[in-house]
């Protein structure tokens, strides 16, 4: 296979004062024609920097410190800016993670695509128009003529990413660099975009450098894999080699940490419910004014469910399914329009503001974003004691309990005196859990509690939750978009779609015998599902199941 790009000993220097001297050091690799190379790593591993260096899009202060990147017989790193510009978009194209922000909000889609032709002085206006239309059609956007006149905000996330791809393909580049192109997308959309990239690779025969943190995605599309850790390529090889027989301990650790969908042992539970939802409804009305009717979105549409004492219920759905609204309704951060939220017999939904404050302790929440869930101006101790003290517990007792909880979540009591910014994301999530526990709740709602974490950290937090569930008999409503994660922790799983509960059942039933077509679609869309299924079989073969 003819190599499209050969990188030799690439080093990228960070500006003085950064956490390490080099973003990337001594990296080498080759991408062949029609080959998909996946660069895998956790955040800060230098994978995106590599891509930016190739495109000449490094942020100010970050420079290439050494090495070569031979493309089309030339070292692209050494080319003058005008020649690099001629290369960009024409021979090497790139797509990005956030399709919303990567498109100019004020320009029509068609304009943004045909601009690529203009940038390289190709074709006349009518020809550009024709080709743009063809591209829009090729990437599978519906109603191409209309899409061309649309603005980015009028498109869904997946459609935007397709438009980005159309842009990248405009001049039939030999190399496509895709920087986490599916990370911000829902799982079903992600599957479609991955299919599109595979399909285009097949038809166009271009090389693809695909940057991702998700081994599931790797399993889905990679021909070759490079694993990066802190700027160093620790392992590379064919996809099969790396996934099945990882050589480097870091790779193994990453692979181990992946929630593979290996199903845990089903537990027997007491039937006593801690939470009962009855006919819950929440409708959001947006807009509306003197002369306009408001628009209605049924975020939660007649949902009833029960969580037993000590049970972990997974609530799974894609973005917009209403799962977060449901979670926030349970803790009464959102007041439902109808229905009951019964916790220990009390209907939280019906309490007045004052009564509610007194009952706040019953249900607690762990939030998604570890950086936003702690007040940056308060010490950890204050974050952990404010609630209990407000509930009337003596301060000294609350503080002692807080230190004890910090110990339990694996941080040590001295963490109490520190400020949030001194902690990493995973540690903050542990603090968030400790804060929830400090209120001694009957139920914890964990809203995408591990979604923002790197995969290895995610595994640790999941371990902690599993451990707490066992030690404290916690009841948890675990909200996630990721079925694989849900399978790790949950006893039962509920699947939500556009506000409605479409299916609910034990983990095994959902995974092995899904009844609802939507559930089936979700399962099928999980990247690396086949590969994971093999693993699951392997795991089961080890005899975890009774």
């Amino acid at each position: 296979m003819r190599p499209v790009l050969t990188i030799e000993d690439l080093s990228i220097a960070l500006p003085a004062g950064a956490d390490r001297p080099h973003a990337v050091s001594g990296m080498s690799m080759t991408i062949g024609e029609g080959e998909i190379l996946c660069v895998v790593g956790e955040s800060g591993s230098g994978k995106s920097m590599t891509a930016n260096a190739l495109m000449g899009l490094l942020p100010p202060g970050v420079t290439v410190a050494g090495g070569r990147a031979v493309f089309d017989g030339r070292d692209v790193l050494a080319l003058p800016e005008t020649q690099r510009r001629a290369l960009r978009g024409r021979q090497i194209a790139m797509i990005f993670q956030e399709p919303m922000t990567a498109l100019n909000p004020l320009m029509r889609i068609g304009e943004q695509i045909s601009e690529v032709f203009a940038a390289h002085g190709m074709y006349g206006p009518t020809e550009r128009e024709r080709r743009t239309l063809a591209l829009v059609t090729e990437v599978g956007l519906p109603d191409p003529a209309k899409i061309m006149r649309a603005y980015p905000f009028q498109l869904s996330g997946g459609q935007r990413q397709r438009a980005m791809i159309a842009m990248a393909l405009a001049l039939e580049p030999e190399l496509l660099i895709a920087d986490e192109p599916t990370t911000a997308l829902d799982v079903t959309t992600q599957a479609q975009i991955l299919d599109l990239i595979l399909d285009l690779r097949r038809r166009r025969g271009m090389g693809v450098m695909f940057i991702t943190h998700d081994f599931g995605v790797v399993a889905e599309i990679a021909d070759k894999v490079i694993v990066m850790e802190k700027g160093i390529a620790v392992e590379q090889g064919s996809a099969a080699e790396v996934l099945d027989t990882p050589q480097h301990p870091y790779t193994s650790r990453l692979l181990d940490a992946i929630p593979t969908g290996r199903l845990p042992e089903a537990r027997s539970l007491e039937p006593a419910p801690v939470l009962e939802l009855k006919g819950l409804r929440k409708v959001y009305r947006t807009g509306g004014g003197l002369f306009r009717p408001p628009r209605e979105v049924r975020a939660v549409d007649d949902v009833s469910l029960t969580i037993g004492r000590g049970e972990v219920l997974g609530l799974v759905g894609e973005s917009g399914s209403g799962k977060s609204t449901l979670g926030r309704t349970v803790v009464r951060l959102v007041t439902p329009d109808a229905g009951q939220v019964l916790v220990g017999g009390t209907d939280l939904a019906a309490l007045s503001e004052e009564e509610l404050r007194k009952s706040r302790g019953k249900v607690q929440m762990v939030f998604q974003d570890p950086y936003a869930s702690l007040n940056p101006r308060h010490r950890i101790l204050r974050a952990l004691t404010a609630g209990p003290v407000a509930m009337g517990r003596p301060r000294a007792a609350a503080e002692a309990k807080a230190r004890e909880l910090l110990e339990i979540v694996g941080l040590g009591p001295e963490a109490a005196e520190r400020f949030p910014h001194e902690f990493s994301g995973g540690q903050r999530q542990r603090i968030g859990i400790a804060r929830a526990l400090a209120m001694e709740p009957e139920l914890i709602v964990a809203d995408e509690a591990v979604s923002a974490l790197d995969v290895s950290i995610q595994a640790q937090v999941l371990d902690l939750l599993r451990d707490l569930r066992a030690r404290l008999g916690l009841s948890i409503l675990f909200i996630t978009h990721d079925l694989r994660v849900a399978a790790q922790l949950c006893d039962r799983i509920a699947v939500m779609q556009t506000g409605r509960l479409v299916e609910m059942g034990a983990v095994h039933d959902i995974f092995l015998a899904p009844r609802d077509p939507y559930t089936r679609a979700l399962l099928a869309a999980v990247p690396g599902a086949d590969w994971a299924a093999e693993n699951r079989m392997a795991g089961n073969a080890e005899g975890a199941r009774p």
Binding site: P105, M164, L290
Partner: protein
Amino acid sequence: MAVIAPILGRLVKALVTLLAIAVLNFFLIHAAPGDPAVVLAGEAGAADEQMIAQLRERFGLDQPFHVQLGSYVWNIVRLDFGYSFRQGAPVLDLILDRLPATLILTLTAFCISLTLGIALGVAASARVGKASDSLLTTLALLFYATPLYWAALMAVLVFSVELGWLPGFGYETVGAGYTGLARIGDVIRHLILPASTLGLFFMAVYMRMTRASMLEVAQMDFVKTARAKGLSGPVIRRRHVLRNAILPVVTLAGLQAGQLVGGAVLTETVFAWPGIGRLMFESLAARDYNTILGVFLVSAAMVIAFNILTDLVYRLVDPRIGARA
């Protein structure tokens, strides 16, 4: 409908606001010591109780306060701004006499400052960190920190008195009898100094804002996309960065354009520009209630009009607005 409905809504709100402004100002101005009768009598050099009483009666100031307020509001509702006590003419006529001068001055200053400010802001942002950028930003900061009236006085001193290039005050050459193009040329010559001193400050504001906004937008992902397409620097700045960066500048400018109309008192005073800012100031000293209130209402209406206009422009420039709201 998508455009008209929100504007209709705003117009209704605007009318309520204007009425509230009329009432508030009515209270404020009547709270000031003295009244027009006292001032008019005072200017006459001699007067007695009889004269002041006559004046009060003529102006309706002998009525109880709530009756005065009521009749004023009722008149406003019927678009009757009343009669100027001091100038003996309908307030609306007085304002309409003066408004064009103010509009010419402020709009010219506004256009100069906006165009130059944006242009220089873009230029500075393109050279960020370089000497020319430092020079431009320092200059802008200096203009920004210079008291407006001071700059105006200096400009008159230098360009009118010392160099004799431009007329230092007034709206046109009085009694020259110019017509047509000659008259326009004459007004323009008179306009240069006041418009540029007034514009200088705002130019500094817009330049600083444009520069900051350009730099901020330049950080955004879609600019990276544009670079990845192989577009050249100037094209990216024009087509992608500027178009997005200009939105906040337009918003601010729209807010200020309205304020300018009522706020050009200083410039109008130094340059003897016969605008409504001065009319307001003079009427205030004379306690010419109806005129002050009239000017306030007209200026406030200008603010609202410019806000609505800005909104419209925004809707045209940014496709998201209409759809989102």
